[in-house]
């Protein structure tokens, strides 16, 4: 690759072609544009006109420039230009060791680091170097392989949720010592750790060392504490710098169970300070749902701190048998429990039935002997669902018969009557002490103070199940605390009072610890090593380097003290650990952890991740050339005038599109179809036909009514719109003055609702023209299928008596004077509503004085639609008759149509002429 002025060219010799450009300029300039052939009748006037200039229209300079630019872009593009051509690696061509710190501190910028590593692998692959990886957080003997192999394995590297330490650094040093000579690229996370100096020295002894490190500061989040009713949050940063604000996020599940951010709080690093703290006050319900805190914009295990029982406050309901001794708080049965629980739990007091709906975690019954059956039932259900009932004995329990003969469901064991008293003034023996807790006991590991004495207690009845239920006993083996599991909940009985009457246990710290172990309360501070002595904690969820939690799977449990002491590592992964009902979080950053930024010796070159990648620009140049050539096409066309029509059309299309976009939604998009139909039908008068379902017949009906509409439009003042097809089942009929109903043998019979509509239509002045289209050869007998169908269809209709159209019917003179009513056929038989029987022709009158109103039906078989039918261009569709008589028949058919429509629209107006003699008579006087 040749580099010219910061741009590399893969084929630099092609650039010589640029020399051709001036020649091309001259050639293009000399050639005139091609002529257009144009049809133009006015050419006769042009003949003999000479052009003023003998020179042809030259190509304008800017068009030439456009073309030159296009050619230049092609030449440059083909020469293969490359922006940011990377120089060859200076470190030679030996093996290359890529060292990763691989800790959580680099997790936030892991993808950038991956890209930087990939770029280095590309370069190494180009230089033919073998590459090995050494992860300082998880050192393994380096294996030198080709860079391409590593590139495919690169996504497999993940940050560890811990820091490299001295031991791992020593391991890495030993691995490095085993190799011959190699150059080192060290991708640092920016944090110092013990053993790093040694490793650096070891790598330097083998070859060149180059460090890649992000300039961003490393942030960390200390475990959340709970003080003064608020969650205390602390953020750390490695290097003190300018003022900077960070935002804490409290993550948890919302009431719907979805993971979400429950609360945020921000804190500010003062300039030159490495610690930022804030307090987040939350309602206890919300606080109990928090699972972890993290820092906004960071994605590492170090900026994630898990919440455990330390933030969770249990709701404890305290219920005593009697509160009759007012003003004696120290003698209250609940006093010591209250004092023990107050710092760590939310206490509820009240009647049992009031308390249960609040669904507390724990209910403490102090010296309550019997429960009402309803209470017992509710309490039992609550225990079955995971509640914990803690009972204390007392004088009432001792005196009652509860759990005496049969084991009470609300008691862990059967009790002997009376209890016992030891070490009192009136009894033998000394007060009893507690025996050390057994391993199966939840109290195992708690230290028993010497001054805990028990003087009175209730006694458990010996029983086969008793031994399994004892979790604390006295030195003489009598049970002190018994526990029974019941479904998902448990019942615990302290065989002593909750006051100091029967023992000194409530006065000692052991009492508080025992309550903690029972998870009645949760500790506000982290447990000490001694408190965890003897417990084993199994991991439930563990964190990876990015701070994401995943199921722990089959990871082994860890001893309690290790959970606090051991540094994080493969055996002690950060996460949530559980022991019994208690959960403890192990975070990457503990309260005492500090983070220090790394400082490299000046001899080591330190670079950032960002390496400007090579960027071939040939594609861009070639695209530019194509664009320029397209522009040239447009410009040439417009210059020669050929673009004119196209441009006009394009502009119109663009205008139309714009107008379409700009036009606000006219009409109602939600208008139902029926409304649209009604709008169409009522906007203008329209003739309508009944859709028979037979496509040919329907088309003919439409064409026929179109022809009739045109005729009406042309000859009369009736100006109908385009005819409409009517679906009897769906459409409203009331809009149409006339319905043309051709009969086909196979059309479906309308439903009863449709018949109801039709009858309503006929009663309200509509007219239906039935057309059997069979020339009426059967004269409405049963012989014609269409006739039969007509009888069938019309049977449910409300049709008055009919008669053949009489010669003096108003239909014969509503517009034209007619004697015949032909369609395609010329049968005379057309039936209309019969005249009233009393209509008699008066002497001297041209016709009878007939009733008002319009005949509701006209029945015939002349196939009028065919005679009326015209194509969309107005030409007749169907030949009628022969020759000129056929045309005459068509004309008469049109006239019948006009008369019919006029009859419908004007009623018996023309019949009023019957009164003309009388009117004339009156005028004469």
């Amino acid at each position: 690759m040749t580099v010219l002025g910061g741009i590399g060219f893969t084929a630099p010799w092609l650039l010589l072609a640029l020399l051709v450009l001036p020649v091309l300029w001259l050639i293009l300039r000399a050639v005139p544009p091609a002529p257009i052939r144009r049809r133009f009748p006015g050419v006769a006037l042009l003949l003999g006109l000479k052009d003023d200039e003998t020179v042809s229209d030259r190509t304008p300079w800017w068009l030439l420039l456009l073309r030159m630019l296009a050619v230049a872009a092609i030449i440059l593009g083909l020469a293969g230009p490359v922006l940011n051509p990377s120089e060859d690696q200076a470190q030679g061509d030996g093996p290359l060791l890529i060292v990763l710190d691989g800790s959580w501190a680099g997790a936030t910028r892991w993808t950038e680091q991956e890209e930087a590593i990939a770029a280095q692998l590309t370069r190494a692959s180009r230089a033919g170097r073998t590459v090995a990886f050494l992860d300082m957080a998880r050192p393994e003997p380096p294996v030198f392989q080709t860079a391409d192999v590593w590139r495919s394995r690169l996504p497999g590297f993940r940050p560890a949720p811990w820091q490299p330490d001295a031991a791992r650094a020593a391991q890495a040093v030993s691995f490095a010592a085993a190799q011959d000579g190699f150059d080192t690229l060290w991708f640092s996370d920016g944090l110092d750790y013990p053993g790093r100096e040694d490793a650096l020295a070891a790598f330097e002894s083998r070859g060149f060392v180059e460090v890649y490190q992000t300039a961003a500061n490393v942030l960390a989040l200390a475990p959340a504490g709970f003080e003064d009713g608020a969650v205390q949050l602390t953020a750390l940063r490695a290097a003190a710098g300018p003022e900077r604000e960070v935002t804490f996020q409290a993550n948890g599940r919302d009431p719907a169970g979805n993971a979400s951010i429950l609360a945020t709080a921000s804190a500010t690093f003062q300039a030159g300070n490495t610690i930022a703290t804030t307090a987040l006050a939350l309602p206890s319900e919300l606080r109990a749902r928090i699972t972890r805190f993290d820092l906004q914009g960071q994605r590492s295990a170090g900026t994630t701190t898990l919440a455990d029982d330390g933030l969770r406050r249990r709701e404890v309901a305290l219920i005593t048998g009697s509160e009759n001794r007012e003003g004696l708080p120290l003698l209250s049965p609940m006093h010591y429990i209250e004092q023990a629980l107050l710092p760590t739990a939310d206490l509820i007091r009240g009647d049992l039935r009031d308390v249960l709906p609040a669904n507390p975690d724990v209910i403490v019954l102090a010296d309550v002997a019997t429960l009402a059956p309803a209470e017992a039932e509710q309490l039992g259900a609550w225990i079955d669902e995971g509640g914990m009932l803690v009972r204390f004995a007392g004088p009432r329990v001792a005196a009652s018969d509860v759990s005496r003969i049969d084991e009470d469901p609300m008691m862990p064991v059967r009790l002997r009557s009376g209890g016992r008293t030891v070490g009192g003034a009136m009894s033998w023996g000394a007060p009893k002490k507690l025996a050390p807790f057994r391993e199966t006991s939840p109290f195992f590991g708690l230290r028993i103070p010497d001054d805990v004495q028990v003087t009175s207690q209730v006694m458990a009845q010996p029983d086969p199940t008793l031994a399994a239920r004892v979790i604390a006993e006295l030195t003489d083996g009598t049970p002190l605390v018994t526990r029974k599991m019941r479904e998902q909940g448990q019942i615990v009985l302290f065989h002593i009072t909750a006051t100091a009457d029967w023992s000194t246990l409530p006065l000692s710290g052991l009492f508080v610890q025992m309550l903690e172990r029972l998870a009645v309360s949760t500790s506000a501070t982290r447990p000490s090593v001694t408190q965890l002595e003897g417990t084993t904690w199994t991991p439930e969820l563990v964190m990876d380097g990015f701070g994401a939690l995943r199921d722990a799977g089959t990871l082994p449990g860890v001893p309690g003290p290790d959970l606090l002491n051991a540094p994080p590592g493969p055996d002690m992964q950060p996460g949530i650990y559980a022991s019994g009902d208690r959960r403890l979080a192990r975070n990457v950053i503990e309260a005492e952890t500090t983070i220090t930024p790394v400082t490299w010796p000046v001899r080591i070159p330190v670079k950032g991740f960002a390496v400007p990648p090579e960027q071939p620009v040939a594609g861009w140049l070639l695209s530019l050339a194509i664009l320029l050539l397209l522009a040239d096409v447009v410009a040439s066309l417009s210059l020669s005038g050929r673009l004119l029509g196209t441009v006009n059309r394009a502009a119109m299309v663009a205008l139309a599109v714009t107008a379409g976009v700009m036009t606000p939604g006219t009409g109602h998009a939600q208008t139902p179809q029926a409304d649209l139909f009604a709008l169409d039908a009522t906007a203008e008068l329209a003739l309508a036909y009944v859709q028979t379902g037979n496509q040919r017949v329907d088309e003919m009906s439409e064409a026929g009514l179109r022809g009739l509409s045109d005729t009406l439009f042309f000859r009369t003042s009736v100006e109908p719109a385009a005819p409409m097809g009517v679906d009897l089942e769906m459409d409203e009929l009331a809009f149409f003055p006339i319905l043309y109903w051709p009969i086909t043998p196979d059309q479906p019979r309308p439903s009863s609702e449709a018949y109801a509509k039709l009858n309503e239509y006929l009663r309200s002045g509509g007219l239906i023209l039935f057309d059997t289209r069979d020339a009426d050869i059967a004269r409405f007998g049963a012989a014609s299928p269409n006739g039969r169908k007509l009888q069938d269809l019309a049977a449910p209709l409300d049709i008055p008596p009919l008669e053949p159209l009489p010669a003096d019917h108003v239909l014969t003179r509503t517009f034209y004077l007619l004697q015949d009513f032909p369609g395609r056929h010329a049968s005379r038989d057309v039936w209309v509503e019969a005249a009233p029987p009393d209509a008699e022709q008066v002497e001297g009158m041209p016709f009878r004085n007939l009733n008002d109103g319009v005949t509701p039906v006209v029945i015939g078989g002349n196939d009028w639609a065919a005679a009326w039918a015209v194509t969309s261009s107005g030409a007749p569709l169907v030949p009628i008759g022969r020759g000129f008589t056929g045309e005459r028949q068509r004309e008469i058919a049109f006239r019948f149509g006009v008369n019919l429509v006029m009859h419908v629209l004007t009623g018996n107006y023309k019949s009023d002429q019957v009164h003309v003699p009388a009117l004339l008579d009156r005028l004469g006087q």
């Binding site: 005139p32 544009p33 091609a34 002529p35 257009i36 052939r37 144009r38 049809r39 133009f40 009748p41 006015g42 050419v43 006769a44 006037l45 042009l46 003949l47 006109l49 052009d51 003023d52 200039e53 020179v55 042809s56 229209d57 210059l639 020669s640 005038g641 050929r642 004119l644 029509g645 042309f714 261009s873 107005g874 030409a875 007749p876």
Partner: protein
């Protein structure tokens, strides 16, 4: 199908039939449009009532000496003592001869939404003919092909004649067999030889024929919106003219066009004809109105 293939195929009856059908298909459309156009004029402009069989009542006038006894209208005269003569409307039918340019130069339109000049010319000619026939006049073509007759059948024949395109580029006005003292209507773009027009008009004037020249032009023929190197060809292809800069020609073309118009007007003034100019982007209705009035005021009645 071009006319040449048409004539070859016409030897076979089936081809002839199919060809006739396709030719005839355009006929009703033209007729319908022309009738529609004419109907509008009839209704809107005149409202002239037509009498039944052609003998319109004009007026009753008192009988004068010299009137034949047979002329006395007894029905009117019986109402009083005076005798009245029933006069009928003067109803000598005029003959109107049309010449609609069928040359190739008329088959041109500059845009898709504009009609061909020939279309517009035929439409105007036929609509005028319909109006005239309804007015009771006799209408025909100049020349011997279709002498003036009256009646609706003549409209059909005219429409049929109008569907025949002429092959030559610029058709000269047909001036043979002009009936003396008749009226004439020439519709053309008059792009051809002006001498032919002069000859036709002079001949018409000689025979006492007066009439109307309807000059039909496409908008592009008025605007000359051309640029760049162009070869202009006539529609028939017989003439062509090449220019290197079409835009330079515009002014001189417009001058020539104006000269052509003024010459036509001068010719009309000399021979007592009327000159009308119509562009195909204007409405046919207005042109028809003008035409009808021009023929009307020319003394048809």
């Amino acid at each position: 199908m071009t006319p040449s293939t048409l004539s070859q195929d016409s030897s076979r009856p089936t081809a002839l039939r199919a060809d006739a059908e396709s030719q005839a298909a355009s006929l009703p459309a033209l007729l319908a449009r022309a009738e529609h156009l004419a109907g509008a004029v009839l209704l809107g402009d005149h409202g002239r009532r037509r009498a039944g069989m052609g003998d319109d009542f004009w007026q009753y006038r008192p009988a004068q000496s010299g009137d034949s006894r047979r002329l006395i209208d007894h029905r009117r005269s019986a109402r009083g003592d005076q005798e009245f003569v029933r006069e009928r409307e003067w109803q000598i039918a005029q003959s109107v001869m049309l010449w609609v340019d069928q040359g190739a130069s008329m088959r041109f339109s500059s845009a898709d939404d504009l009609p061909l000049k020939a279309d517009r010319a035929r439409l105007l000619g036929l609509a005028t003919a319909i109006l005239l026939v309804r007015g009771g006049e006799r209408v025909g073509l100049t020349g011997t092909a279709l002498p003036p007759r009256r009646g609706n059948a003549q409209i059909l024949r005219l429409a049929e004649m109008f569907t025949q395109d002429a092959a030559e580029d610029y058709a000269p006005p047909e001036h043979r067999a002009m009936i003396p003292s008749a009226r004439a209507l020439f519709i053309s773009d008059f792009m051809g030889d002006i001498d032919e027009v002069r000859l036709a008009l002079t001949k018409a004037a000689d025979r006492g024929v007066r009439g109307v020249l309807m000059h039909i032009l496409d908008p592009s023929e008025e605007a000359f919106p051309f640029r760049g190197r162009t070869i202009f060809e006539s529609v028939g292809g017989s003439l062509s003219h090449e220019t290197l800069k079409a835009s330079e020609l515009k002014d001189r073309y417009l001058e020539r066009l104006a000269a052509r118009k003024s010459e036509l007007q001068k010719l009309c003034a000399l021979t007592g004809w009327q000159y009308g100019l119509h562009h195909t982007d204007a409405s046919a209705q207005s042109a028809l109105l003008w035409l009808y009035r021009a023929l009307d005021t020319g003394g048809l009645r």
